[in-house]
């Protein structure tokens, strides 16, 4: 069986999301150079696209919209990160958050090895939550309190900003009183420490605006 024939058999599984990551990437590589398979994908895609509409249609629980809009309105009340921080830093963070790409190589050299505590800025949707970043001897610890416990297989994840890069760091869950204590690597040359909510196991790129921000 030729490479093309083998991949052609995968068109259905690809459209249904039934290829594992390795097979999917191989198929997509093949697709880029194969008009016939691209056409076959385009021809069958509408059949896969209607599958979500085949399910029994339910009314969403009434509280769902209220919760969703509360988050949205909360976002609207909090100036988005990109507009609240110094321009350089905001552009850098926004680029990572919105595009999910690492761009640029600039690294601001701020801070030093002095001991200090920096108060964290927390999303207004969590009015009681707060915390700080303690830096001592090149080591840092993020301490948070009154953070909501996360359900749905999600965890908090810390990020360390270096110039335009958001480097993934430790994931954590909060204990009693919504408290979390997160040891971090050396942040003496970092531009900020941030927290987002991510799927268990963590992410390589933040999937939301940070809910806790400690610009340095």
């Amino acid at each position: 069986m030729s490479d093309h024939e083998r991949h052609r058999e995968d068109v259905g599984a690809y459209l249904l999301g039934a290829l594992n990551d390795i097979d999917r990437r191989a198929f997509e590589r093949h697709l880029r150079g194969c008009d016939e398979c691209r056409e076959e994908v385009a021809r069958l895609r509408p059949a896969a696209d209607v599958l979500p509409s085949s399910v029994v249609q339910l009314d969403p629980p009434p509280g769902l919209k209220a919760r969703l809009m509360a988050e949205v309105e909360g976002d609207s009340n909090v100036t988005p990160l990109g507009r609240r921080r110094p321009p350089m830093r905001l552009v850098a963070v926004a680029a990572v958050l919105l595009v999910g790409l690492v761009v640029g190589v600039g690294v601001a050299q701020l801070g030093g090895d002095e001991n200090r505590t920096v108060v964290a800025t927390v999303d207004k949707a969590m009015p009681r939550a707060g915390g700080s970043l303690e830096i001592a001897g090149g080591r840092a610890t993020l301490r948070l309190h009154d953070m909501p416990a996360l359900g749905g297989g999600r965890v908090y994840q810390t990020w360390i900003q270096h110039g335009d890069r958001m480097v993934p760091a430790m994931t954590f869950e909060v204990g009693a009183g919504g408290r979390g204590r997160v040891p971090l690597p050396d942040v003496s040359d970092a531009d900020g420490v941030y927290v987002t909510r991510e799927p268990r196991g963590g992410a390589q790129v933040p999937s939301e605006q940070p809910i806790v921000s400690v610009p340095l």
Binding site: A13, L16, L58, M69, R200
Partner: protein
Amino acid sequence: MAQDIRDLADEEVMQLVQRGDARAFELLYDRHGGAAYSLAYRIVGRQGPAEDVVQEALLSIWRSRLRYDQTRGSVRTWVLGIVHNRAIDGLRRMAVHDRRRETLDIADERHETGERTDVEVARREEARGVRGALETLPPEQRRALELAYFGGFTQTQIAEMLDEPVGTVKGRMRLGLEKMRRELVEGMA
């Protein structure tokens, strides 16, 4: 403002959402939140996790200002694709036996309540039409499609579950989509 934007097409609403317009986002939810929840419920099988999926998916559109790609179909198709990905991600973190049980559960319409707007009636009619097309498939093709799309299983896992060669499962998926496509085209003719 809200009354004005209700006349806009979905594509125009998405442009406002991308500019951070909360009213436009609310309208997006009003139009597609029901379909999104129904899909999430079908995949994860429980109300709480289904709500989490919808909330995460729609907030990801809002917060990251995800760009709607017209080449990938209608706004609804695009939104439901994001919900599907989130739901399957969640499902894949669950134990396999739980996933299988929930995947094979057939949701009934007991959650259907309340008054029906024209849009709601149309949504349910469309669902019945597509379900009708799905029901015309040979059972083994339908099962392969459902285990993959709603169960989040890979073709290898499906082959193991059904004790069939992977090649057979691949073929059923492809033939199933082919037949669905024919049914839909003929249905529109």
